[in-house]
C-alpha cells in the first residue's frame, strides 16, 4: 500500500517560508492571495496490505520521525 504523510507547522507556529511565498506571489501580481502555509508531503511504499494497519504504521512513523510534534502536525492518507 501507499501512505501519504502531510506534515504542516501547527497553527500559531510562525511559518516564514509561507510568508515569503505569499510575498513573492503578490510580487507576481497575484494580489488576491491571502495567507500561505508551506509543508511537506512524504510518500511511503508499505508492504502492509490492510489499510487500517498501514495507517497505524504510517502514523507511528510520523510521530517518531517524520513530524516533530512540538511544532508540526501531520495527516496520513492511505491508498
Amino acid at each position: 500500500m501507499k501512505a501519504v504523510v502531510t506534515v504542516m507547522l501547527k497553527e500559531g507556529v510562525l511559518d516564514p517560508q509561507g510568508k515569503a511565498i505569499a510575498q513573492a506571489l503578490h510580487g507576481l501580481g497575484f494580489a488576491a492571495v491571502g495567507e500561505v502555509r508551506a509543508g511537506k508531503r512524504i510518500e511511503l511504499e508499505l508492504a502492509e496490505t490492510d489499510p487500517a494497519r498501514a495507517r497505524a504504521q504510517a502514523e507511528e512513523m510520523a510521530r517518531k520521525l517524520l513530524a516533530n510534534t512540538v511544532i508540526e502536525s501531520f495527516r496520513v492518507e492511505v491508498a
Binding site: V13, L14, Q17, L65, N68, V70, I71
Partner: protein
C-alpha cells in the same frame, strides 16, 4: 576531564570545538564517529555544529536517530554533562533531551554575524567562569535558530532557571533587534532540568584565542575544564 566530540556526517565545527576544549582542559577530546556506541569513561559529550545528514527532513532529525544516540541518552540518564552547539542544540531538541524546537530564522535568512549573549546564571557547571548578567560576544552561523516552545514550557524554563543565555544588545538589553533569529523570549540557550545538558545556537568555541578576534567564549570551556580532574 575527558571529553568526547560526536562526529556526524555533515558536521563541520568539530575541530573548532576540539581546539576550544583542548585549550581549556589540556586534553585532546576523543572524536567519536556516529556509528560508535561506547562512551564509557567520558565526562562531557560535545555535539558540534554543522549540517548533520544534510539537514534532511529537519535540522538534527536524522542525527537524533543515529546509533550513537543510545550511548548519549545513557550518559544523560547517568547525569553526565552534554554540550550541544548550533546543530548540536538542534539534535538535542530532536532527541528530546532538551525541550522545544529550533525553527527557520524569522527573517528567513542564514545569519552569519556576531551576537551578544547575556549570562542568565553563573552558578552552573557551564558558566562558573562568567559573572551573572555578564554580556559576551559570540559568532552566529545558522539558518534555523529560532527557538520555539509553547508558552507553558517557556514559563517552566524561566521558573526553573533553565534559560542559559539570551540575545541582547552589548549593554545587555533584550530588544527585538538583538534577537536576530526571532527566538521566543530572546532565548539563545537552555539547560536540562538537572542543569547538566546545555544547548545553544551561537558558537563560543570560535572565540577562545586573541587570534580568533577575542576570548569571549573561553570562560565557558574553562568552566567545563573544572568539572572533573
Amino acid at each position: 576531564m575527558r571529553a568526547a566530540i560526536i562526529v556526524f556526517p555533515g558536521i563541520n565545527r568539530e575541530r573548532d570545538l576540539a581546539i576550544a576544549l583542548e585549550r581549556s582542559t589540556g586534553r585532546a577530546p576523543r572524536m567519536v564517529w556516529h556509528k560508535e556506541t561506547d562512551l564509557a569513561g567520558i565526562d562531557l559529550i560535545a555535539i558540534p555544529g554543522g549540517f548533520s545528514y544534510g539537514d534532511y527532513l529537519r535540522c538534527g532529525a536524522m542525527a537524533a536517530q543515529s546509533p550513537v544516540m543510545g550511548a548519549i541518552r545513557a550518559h544523560a540518564a547517568r547525569g553526565g554533562h552534554i554540550l550541544g552547539v548550533c546543530n548540536g542544540f538542534q539534535i538535542l531538541t530532536e532527541a528530546g533531551l532538551l525541550p522545544g524546537a529550533l525553527l527557520r530564522n524569522a527573517a528567513l535568512r542564514f545569519l552569519s554575524m556576531d551576537c551578544h549573549l547575556r549570562v542568565e546564571r553563573a552558578d552552573t557547571d557551564f558558566t562558573r567562569h562568567y559573572q551573572r548578567g555578564e554580556v559576551f560576544r559570540a559568532p552566529l552561523a545558522h539558518g534555523d535558530g529560532n527557538y520555539f516552545a509553547d508558552e507553558a514550557t517557556l514559563d517552566r524554563l524561566e521558573g526553573e532557571g533553565r534559560v542559559a543565555f539570551r540575545y541582547t544588545t552589548p549593554m545587555g538589553e533584550t530588544t527585538p533587534g538583538a534577537n536576530r533569529n526571532g527566538s521566543a523570549r530572546n532565548i539563545a540557550g537552555i539547560y536540562s532540568e538537572n542543569l547538566r545538558i546545555l544547548g545553544l545556537m551561537p558558537h563560543p568555541e570560535d572565540l577562545v584565542d586573541p587570534l580568533m578576534g577575542g576570548t569571549d567564549g573561553k570562560p565557558l570551556f574553562d568552566s567545563i575544564a573544572a568539572l572533573a580532574a
